[in-house]
Assembly symmetry: C2
Homo-oligomer: 402 residues x 2
C-alpha cells in the first residue's frame, strides 16, 4: 500500500497535534486505526469555502484489494458511527457495528471484496474534527472548525481512496447519514461508483429531523460545561447536555411498537411506582444508560458538527431544486432500502430517491423491509435486509465480472 499511509508511530503530524490536558480522555484519537495524513499542501476544499489542512483520516479495511483494483467497497457510517465496522471497537470493546452484514461469507463478503470504512471528517474517532488540535493555535479547534457538509465528507473519502490507490468503487453502501454519503458519492463522482446502496436515508433532511437535531444541539450548548465549545481548555465535559441530546435522539432511532415490545410500561425492579422521579420505568433506565454510555465515546462538538451536516443536506437544492438532476450523469446501479417503522427516514423519503432515479432511467431496485425496529433496523439483525443486500451485491459482482 501507499507509503504515505502511516501507523500511529510514524504519524509526525499526529504527534505534533498533541492532546491538551483533559483531551487524552476524549476519543478524538484512536490508536487502533491506520491514518492517512494530508499535509497543508493537500487541503480539503470545503463547501463553506474553508480549506482544511493539514488533516487526517482514520480508517479500517477488511479483505484484499484485487490486482485489477475493482473489488473495493466503501462503507459510509452514520452520525455517531465510526470506522470499526468489522473490528472490535477500541473504546467500547463491542463487536464491529456492521458485522451482521460484512465479513467472511456475509452479504458483503470480505473473502471477495476489499472493504474500506473511514471515520468522517468532523467526527472524533481519529479523523480531523472539532476535537482535533488546530496546528495554527495548538488548541483544539472547537467551534473554529469549519462547518462540515456531507459533500465535504465524500470529498475527503475520495482523497483517501486516491491515497489507497482505488480508482473506483465496486460498491458504496451506508445507512442514515451513511446513506446520504452514498447518494452524494453517486452524484458527485458518477464514474467512480459501480453500485450504490443507500439505506434508511433521504435525499434531504426533513424539517422534523432538523428540529430534533436542534433540540440536541441546544441541550449541549445549554450545558455550562460546554463553555462555548472550549471545554478541553476548561477541563470540563458537557456530559449532561450531550447525554440529554443522545437520549432524545435515541427515541427517534427506535419505533413506538419496538419500545412497546421491549419495555412497554414495565417497571424497573419494582412492583409498584415509587412516586418519585427515580427511573421507575424500564424505558427511563434504558434511556439514561444510552445517554451515559454515549458521552464516554463521543465528543460533544463533533455531535454538533455532524448533526449540522445532516441538516444542511439537500441534494435536490444543490441541483436546481430537481433531485433527478443530481443523478443525470450517474453510471451506478442502485438498491434503495427503507424500513416500514422508520419514522426518521420514512419510506416516502426512499420513494423520492427512487422516483428521481427512475426519471433518469437509472437501474434501481427498491425494497421496503417490513420491520418494527424503526430507523436502527439497518444496524440490526434483519434477514430481509441481508437477503436484499446479498442479491444486489452478487448480481452487481457478476455484472462487474468479479
Amino acid at each position: 500500500m501507499d507509503s504515505t499511509l502511516t501507523s500511529d508511530a510514524e504519524a509526525g503530524l499526529r504527534s505534533e497535534a498533541k492532546p491538551l490536558p483533559g483531551y487524552e480522555a476524549m476519543p478524538a484519537t484512536d490508536p487502533k486505526s491506520p491514518v492517512a495524513l494530508f499535509g497543508a499542501d493537500e487541503p480539503l476544499a470545503m463547501d463553506s469555502g474553508a480549506a482544511l489542512g493539514p488533516f487526517q483520516i482514520a480508517y479500517q479495511t477488511a479483505g484484499t484489494l484485487n490486482a485489477a483494483r475493482s473489488n473495493a467497497v466503501l462503507i459510509c457510517h452514520a452520525l455517531t458511527g465510526d470506522q470499526h465496522f468489522a473490528h472490535r471497537h477500541p473504546v467500547t470493546g463491542k463487536a464491529g457495528w456492521w458485522e451482521t452484514l460484512v465479513g467472511p461469507g456475509k452479504p458483503i463478503d470480505t473473502d471477495r471484496y476489499f472493504v474500506v470504512c473511514s471515520n468522517v471528517i468532523g467526527s472524533c474517532m481519529g479523523s480531523t474534527g472539532p476535537a482535533s488540535v488546530d496546528p495554527a493555535t495548538a488548541k483544539p479547534y472547537g467551534l473554529d472548525f469549519p462547518l462540515v457538509t456531507i459533500r465535504d465528507m465524500v470529498r475527503a473519502q475520495a482523497m483517501l481512496l486516491d491515497r489507497l490507490g482505488i480508482p473506483d468503487l465496486f460498491l458504496c453502501i451506508g445507512g442514515s447519514m451513511g446513506g446520504m454519503q452514498v447518494l452524494q458519492w453517486a452524484s458527485l463522482f458518477p464514474e467512480r461508483v459501480f453500485a450504490a446502496m443507500p439505506i434508511a436515508t433521504g435525499a434531504r433532511h426533513s424539517a422534523q429531523n432538523i428540529a430534533f437535531h436542534e433540540v440536541g444541539r441546544r441541550a449541549i450548548m445549554a450545558d455550562p460545561a460546554w463553555a462555548d465549545g472550549r471545554y478541553f481548555e476548561e477541563g470540563t465535559r458537557p456530559a449532561k447536555g450531550l447525554g440529554v441530546a443522545r437520549m432524545g435522539a435515541h427515541i427517534t432511532y427506535l419505533s413506538e411498537p419496538a419500545l412497546h415490545r421491549k419495555f412497554g410500561r414495565r417497571l424497573q425492579n419494582r412492583a409498584a411506582p415509587t412516586f418519585s422521579f427515580n427511573a421507575d420505568f424500564q424505558i427511563e433506565s434504558y434511556l439514561r444508560h444510552q445517554g451515559l454510555s454515549f458521552v464516554e465515546r463521543f465528543d460533544a462538538n463533533a455531535y454538533l458538527y455532524l448533526t449540522r451536516a445532516m441538516d444542511y443536506f439537500d441534494l435536490a437544492e444543490d441541483h436546481g431544486g430537481v433531485l433527478a438532476n443530481a443523478f443525470r450523469a450517474s453510471k451506478s446501479r442502485f438498491c434503495v432500502i427503507s424500513f416500514t417503522s422508520d419514522w426518521l427516514f420514512p419510506t416516502a423519503d426512499s420513494r423520492a430517491i427512487v422516483h428521481a432515479l427512475n426519471a433518469v432511467a437509472a437501474p434501481v431496485a427498491f425494497v421496503e423491509v417490513e420491520s418494527d425496529k424503526g430507523h436502527d433496523a439497518f444496524l440490526l439483525d434483519e434477514p430481509a435486509l441481508f437477503s436484499a443486500a446479498r442479491g444486489f451485491v452478487d448480481a452487481a459482482a457478476r455484472a462487474r465480472g468479479l
Copy 2:
C-alpha cells in the same frame, strides 16, 4: 355562590404563603383567578399516600349555573394549560386557549352552560403545586411536594365542584392530559358525569411518550440552575433546561406534514445557509422561540410533576389490567375524538378506549378527524372537531332536558 370561595383580597391562606424573593416573577400565583381554599382539615388524599393540606385551587368560570344545577361543564386542561380557557391569559396576554370551542354560540355554549376550568393540582397558575410555599417550612415545596397523579387532579376537581355546589357534570371534556382526566372522571365518579368527551388522549401513557417526558425532565435536572429543585431559594431559574424540554416536547405536539407545510427547509431571513450554528432554518428559530416563551410562563418543577402524572396514568392497570373494568359502573355517554396525524396519542389509543366502552355497552361515538396538524389539533381551528362537539353536546343536552 359558596361564601368560602374567595377573591385574592380575601385569601388569608394565600397571603400567608407569601412568595420568597425571586418567586414573585413566577406564575405560581395568578391574581386574575378566583381561588377555592381548603384548610388543613380538608386535605386532598393523594395516591402516593400523602395528605395535601392546606391547598388551593384556582379556577375560572363562564356562563351561569341554572337553578337545577344541571348545566355544569368541566373543562380539563392539558399538561401546560391552565384555567384561562375563555379569558385573556394574565401572563401571556393571549386569548383563552379554547375560545375556538367555548363561548357564546360556540359548540360549548356559555349562554346555555356553566363552564368551569380549574388549574390542576401540581401546576403553577394559582393551584397548589411544587412552586407553592409549604406552610410547614415557609419555603417553596420544590421536590418535597408529593407526586401527583391524574386521579389526584380529579379528586381535587371534585372537591372544587362540591365547593361550587355542583352535584354532577353535564359534560366533562378535555384534550391530551385533559382527556386523561375526563376518562378518570367517568371511571372514578360514574354518577357525576352525564357526558364525557376525551380528545386526543389515551387510557395510558405509552413507552415512547414516557421516553420523551423523561428526556425533558433530564434536560431540566441537568441545568445547574435547577439546583435540585430549590431554584427559588437560590435565586436562579432553570430556563435553559426548561427551554430545551419544551423544544423537544413541542415537536411531538405537531406532525411531520405540518412542519413540512409550515417551515419545510426554508431559511430564516437568509438566501443561503450561514455555515454556522445560527438558527439558519425557520424551524430552528420557531423552536427556540417556543422554548424561550414557555419559560416565562411555566414553572420547571411543575413541568416535572405534571409530566410524571401523565407517565403514571394507566387506567387499565388500576382496574386489574382490564380497561373495560374502569367503566363498568359508568352512566356516561362518550364521544371519543382522535386526529389522523397525532402520533403522540395516535388513533389506536382512542380505539382502545372505544373498545373498552363497547365491552361494557356504554353509549359511545368515535370520530377520527382528518387533520395534518398533529396532537395540537385539539387546540386549533378544526371544523370537524367543532361539528362533532356541537352534535354530541346538543344531543346530550336534549337527553338531559337542557
